[in-house]
């Protein structure tokens, strides 16, 4: 099961966070800071998985941004890595040549994309067109 999805910058700023488990507000910043610290301590060639408390962290770096997914023991790590790439491709399809700032100023759209892809900690849709259809429909109504 997917426990959380985070998009963090190298400086540890949160660009997006979505938790699929109950978590206290006070624990969140600590978790995010710990995770990014551990990731930054790793060399580029090292593997994309690490253990943090009870979670397995799967991460992938895109320029200055780290896309991070926390999963439990039953989830397939390699497939999760592929999911991260799918998320990025979907975002890129929605906003071509997407940048850090685009993510920041469209944070609610990012949440909507994520909502169409992951629900209750499980993948619900993997086809990019189907994911984006409701969001594009909403944009066209404005």
């Amino acid at each position: 099961m997917i426990k959380f999805v985070l998009i963090l910058t190298k400086q540890g700023q949160t660009r997006l966070s979505h938790y699929y488990m109950p978590i206290e507000l006070t624990e969140r910043p600590t978790l995010e800071a710990d995770v990014i610290r551990r990731i930054l301590a790793r060399a580029p060639g090292q593997c994309s998985f690490l253990d943090y408390e009870d979670y397995k962290i799967v991460y992938r770096r895109y320029l200055a941004l780290y896309f991070i997914i926390g999963i439990d023991d039953d989830e397939n790590e390699v497939a999760t890595l592929e999911l991260i790439h799918l998320i990025v491709e979907t975002i890129d399809k929605y906003i071509p040549k997407v940048t850090d700032l685009d993510l920041m100023y469209n944070v609610e759209k990012m949440h909507m994309i994520l909502d169409e892809m992951i629900m209750n900690g499980r993948v619900v849709e993997t086809c990019k067109n189907k994911i984006l259809a409701p969001i594009q429909l909403m944009d066209s109504q404005r």
Binding site: A43, F49, V78, A79, Y105, V107, E108, M119, V124, Q141
Partner: protein, 885 residues
């Protein structure tokens, strides 16, 4: 000009709240963290005002800002209710932000979420699919048991619609509901088959998740769904056979996410079921051979396939195929794949030890990898692979690893090496060499319990003691800062210091154990620091008494020494006073006596005791400080005093439905464990003062805390029969030092007379409660009450409380007493102990004592918390002595 008009004017002039984009821009412009905080606080204040004014025009915009601020880590829960208002709004954009806010700000722990139930129900019946989708997605993430019951019907209806967009979301809601309230699962079962046959991949994917969840929750459903194996096989076959489909293609592989989920489900269905396994053999072979391995996605599927093959009852040919895939994974250049390979081997090591053993050398290579994640997996795997035939090579490699390991691995690795040695060591000499080697390599990261287990082992290995003490002395001389090493060495020096000075080495066991082992590992590091280090150690070491005392003294004074190490050092000195020549005694005195002024109580006490021993009881010193007898391992398997306890005790338990199993469990309590007081293992117990301490402990069992006002009314009474045997029982513990008993006996007899009278006199009116269990947040208190009519019957009221944050359910407490008693256990007030001490369970235990003996009680309890079952047992022997008088 009324006030109202003025107000209206003011309101119309008020600027519209800024947009989310502008807020983000402002926050970005903030230079320092303090600036950012002030921007955020100002904005939050304004938003709060607008919320209070029930402004509905900008509510959506404001909630979006609150969500952003919440993401930055500020408290923004005041937005919860606004989200509910947005959800109730008819506009789609409002609903969109409202539901997003609800999923982010609310969760099932807040009761607020129940207020949404009605709006959500309405939205689920909305005629726009996207509104229904929003409502379902929100339900999927915040649904609580209460909400599950309210909305399960709607979800079930939506599972049957023809709209794939709605069906896939409803299926995941059903997953959540199944998890929260398993009994609601029934209503979704009929829809499953049609969901699996749907053409839409999203629906198939979520349906597979739903089946998986149901199978995990209920074994009956698992049996039922075994019929679905052919359907799942067909889905997989379609995926790998079908040509290119742009919609779900990921670098040439058709919908890997669905494939992975189906394989996971097949694993659950095929586990321990030959027929189901048989049905999936072919497709697994196809997936394993046809999947493209050059890409990451292909490996994700292969990884899952291997796990499934190893977990079900698959054909042997298939297993070989799977193990070969893992072999390829292990050699892959991509570290991710190597990590996954190690992970899989770890999961399959139980199923097929031999297959994994084949990759041992590659796994050992992974220990040298620079990547922490890979190192961690391979260390775990190495420990799983150790067996009697490879223990030497494996441990050797692991010690190499330990030498260079990061601190975070040292503790884990060293304690696991100890466990492995315990289980598989080929001989004592190797075992002890290894343990000493680990002590020097892991230094302060060695877990504390290893110190005592090593000491215990050395104490029972008589023939090697001279060799050990020499080795440890050398190691300690080399580095005095490692506490566990220092403690073990000091204990050995204290016990066997004379052997060290004499330079005797008994070589009973072949020396090649060490020559093959120690020179390779030990010497390099030591040689550089101490040039005269002799690896073969054939020459006896020349150590004088003063050398040893120098070392001890330096440890006492070293700032790096912990308090415990100093205690070990002091005791070692005291013991050496009996082993060394009389000339050294003066020096030892000089070292030890100043500690009678020490701020540390333990050191002070030992030092004072030593002073008393030399000055007053010098004739007893040699006897008291004699070498300790070999310590017995505290292993319940080896202790066999079942006969004794069977004679003494009989279980009388009438409680919760006592099935065959339970009473068997209770017999177990009685059967194992030594019921008499355990022999003391601590070296320091062999001194007179500590036996005095023992005496105090025993007296503590009596009721010394009686109010002073009662004390003067002591009357001479007959021999206080009931308290004396109690003390004599306790004396069993003091058996080893018979020399001291004569002295203390007199004292004790006096005391018991005195106290016996005292307790007899004051006991009757009330008996103080005792704490029977205090463990992991569970407290069980015994309150005593005399039954007026029968003087030898006491009602014990058991009161169980729970100080953790989780409730303890199915709490059961059972008790047994010796034969001479009669025990009656009434049914308890409930079986749920609420958390945070917010309530208690009570249970009445009636104990009759016709022969007026001392009460001892064995108990066993169990409860479940957080999904796991906790059980424990023990004995209560601190019952007030006066309870039956």
């Amino acid at each position: 000009m009324s006030v109202l008009q003025a107000l209206e004017e003011k309101l119309s002039k008020m600027p519209a709240p800024i947009r989310l984009k502008d807020l983000i821009r402002n926050i970005r412009a903030a230079r320092t963290a303090a600036d950012e905080r002030s921007v955020v606080q100002k904005e939050l204040a304004q938003i709060r005002d607008l919320f209070r004014d029930e402004d509905s025009v900008y509510r959506c915009r404001n909630v979006a800002k609150v969500l952003y601020i919440h993401m930055l880590g500020y408290a923004a829960h005041f937005g919860q209710l606004e989200c509910l208002k947005l959800i109730a709004s008819p506009r789609f954009t409002d609903k969109r932000i409202g539901y997003l806010g609800a999923t982010l700000l609310l969760d099932e722990r807040h009761d607020v979420h129940l207020l949404m139930t009605n709006s959500m129900k309405n939205d689920m019946n909305h005629n726009t699919q996207y509104v229904v989708g929003l409502s379902l997605s929100c339900l999927g993430s915040i649904c609580s048991p209460e909400m599950s019951r309210d909305l399960a019907g709607e979800v079930e209806k939506l599972l049957k619609t023809s709209n794939a967009y709605i069906k896939k979301k409803a299926a995941l809601c059903a997953v959540r509901i199944t998890r929260k309230v398993p009994e609601l699962m029934e209503m979704f079962i009929p829809s499953v088959r049609s969901l699996l046959n749907d053409k839409n991949h999203g629906v198939q994917l979520t349906a597979v998740c739903l089946v998986h969840e149901m199978c995990e929750r209920s074994p009956d459903t698992l049996l039922h769904f075994r019929k679905l194996v052919p359907n799942l096989v067909r889905i997989l076959k379609n995926l790998i056979m079908s040509g290119y489909s742009p919609e779900h293609d990921v670098s040439g592989v058709s919908d890997p996410f669905l494939q992975v989920k189906v394989l996971q489900l097949l694993r659950v269905l095929g586990r321990k079921d030959p027929d189901a396994s048989e049905a999936m053999n072919d497709i697994l072979a196809q997936v394993a051979t046809n999947t493209e391995t050059s890409k990451n996605v292909g490996n994700a599927i292969l990884y899952e396939t291997v796990l499934t093959i190893m977990d079900i009852n698959s054909e042997s040919g298939l297993r070989v195929l799977a193990v070969n895939i893992l072999g390829r994974f292990l050699l892959n250049n991509d570290k991710n794949i190597r990590y996954v390979a190690l992970n899989t081997l770890l999961k399959t090591v139980q199923a097929d030890m031999n297959a994994v053993q084949r990759h041992r050398s590659t796994i050992l290579d992974c220990l040298k990898d620079s990547d922490i994640s890979i190192k961690k997996r391979s260390v775990e795997l190495c420990f799983a692979l150790i067996n009697a035939s490879n223990v030497r090579t494996m441990v050797k490699e692991l010690i190499f690893f330990l030498d260079k390991a990061d601190p975070e691995f040292k503790s884990y690795t060293s304690s696991n090496i100890f466990t492995a040695c315990d289980r598989y060591s080929p001989n004592k000499r190797w075992h002890i060499d290894t343990m000493m080697r680990v002590l020097t390599a892991a230094g302060n990261y060695v877990p504390d319990d290893s110190v005592s287990s090593l000491i215990q082992m050395i104490s029972e290995t008589g023939s090697l003691q001279a060799y050990i003490v020499q080795q440890l002395y050398k190691a300690l001389k080399d580095d005095i800062s490692q506490q566990p090493l220092a403690q073990v060495s000091l204990w050995c020096i204290g016990e066997f210091g004379d052997m060290l000075v004499a330079g005797v080495v008994d070589e009973e066991e072949p020396i090649q154990v060490r020559t093959y082992y120690l020179p390779a590992l030990h010497v390099d590091s030591l040689k550089t620091k101490t040039p005269n280090y002799d690896p073969g150690m054939t020459e006896p070491l020349q150590v004088s008494e003063d050398d040893i005392l120098d070392l001890g003294e330096s440890l006492m004074n070293a700032t790096s020494s912990s308090q415990v190490t100093k205690e070990y050092a002091l005791l070692a000195m005291v013991k050496l006073s009996a082993r060394f020549s009389p000339q050294s005694l003066e020096r030892i005195k000089k070292i030890v006596i100043p500690y009678s002024q020490s701020m540390d109580m333990e050191l002070q006490q030992r030092s004072v005791e030593f002073g008393a021993l030399i000055n007053t009881y010098n004739h007893m010193r040699a006897g008291l400080l004699e070498r300790m007898p070999p310590m017995e391992k505290k292993d319940t398997d080896k202790v066999n005093n079942g006969e004794l306890t069977d004679e003494q005790l009989e279980s009388r338990e009438i409680s919760i439905p006592s099935t065959q199993n339970e009473s068997k469990g209770l017999l177990d309590i009685l059967g194992d464990g030594d019921f008499t007081a355990p022999v003391n293992n601590q070296p320091n117990k062999s001194e007179p003062m500590s036996s005095g301490g023992e005496l105090l402990d025993l007296l503590g069992g009596l009721d010394l805390s009686a109010p002073p006002t009662v004390a003067p009314t002591i009357q001479p009474m007959g021999a206080p029969l009931n308290s004396v045997p109690n003390l004599m029982d306790g004396l069993d513990a003091l058996q080893p030092m018979t020399t001291t008993t004569t002295a203390t006996m007199n004292l004790m007899n006096q005391n018991t007379d005195l106290l016996g009278g005292l307790t007899n006199n004051i006991g009757a009116p009330s008996i103080p409660p005792i704490m029977a269990v205090d463990k992991d947040g569970l407290k069980v208190e015994f309150n005593f009450e005399k039954e007026g009519s029968a003087p030898h019957v006491v009602n014990i009221t058991l009161k169980a409380t729970n100080s953790t944050t989780n409730p303890f359910s199915s709490f059961i407490f059972q008790a047994a007493v010796p034969k001479t008693f009669q025990l009656q256990l009434m049914s308890p007030s409930g079986d749920l102990v609420p958390p945070n001490n917010s309530g208690a369970i009570t249970q009445l235990i009636k104990v009759a004592n016709p022969q007026n003996a001392n009460l001892r009680m064995r108990y066993k309890f169990s409860y479940s918390t957080g999904g796991s079952t906790v059980s424990d047992q023990g004995e209560v022997n601190t019952f007030p002595a006066n309870m039956f008088t």
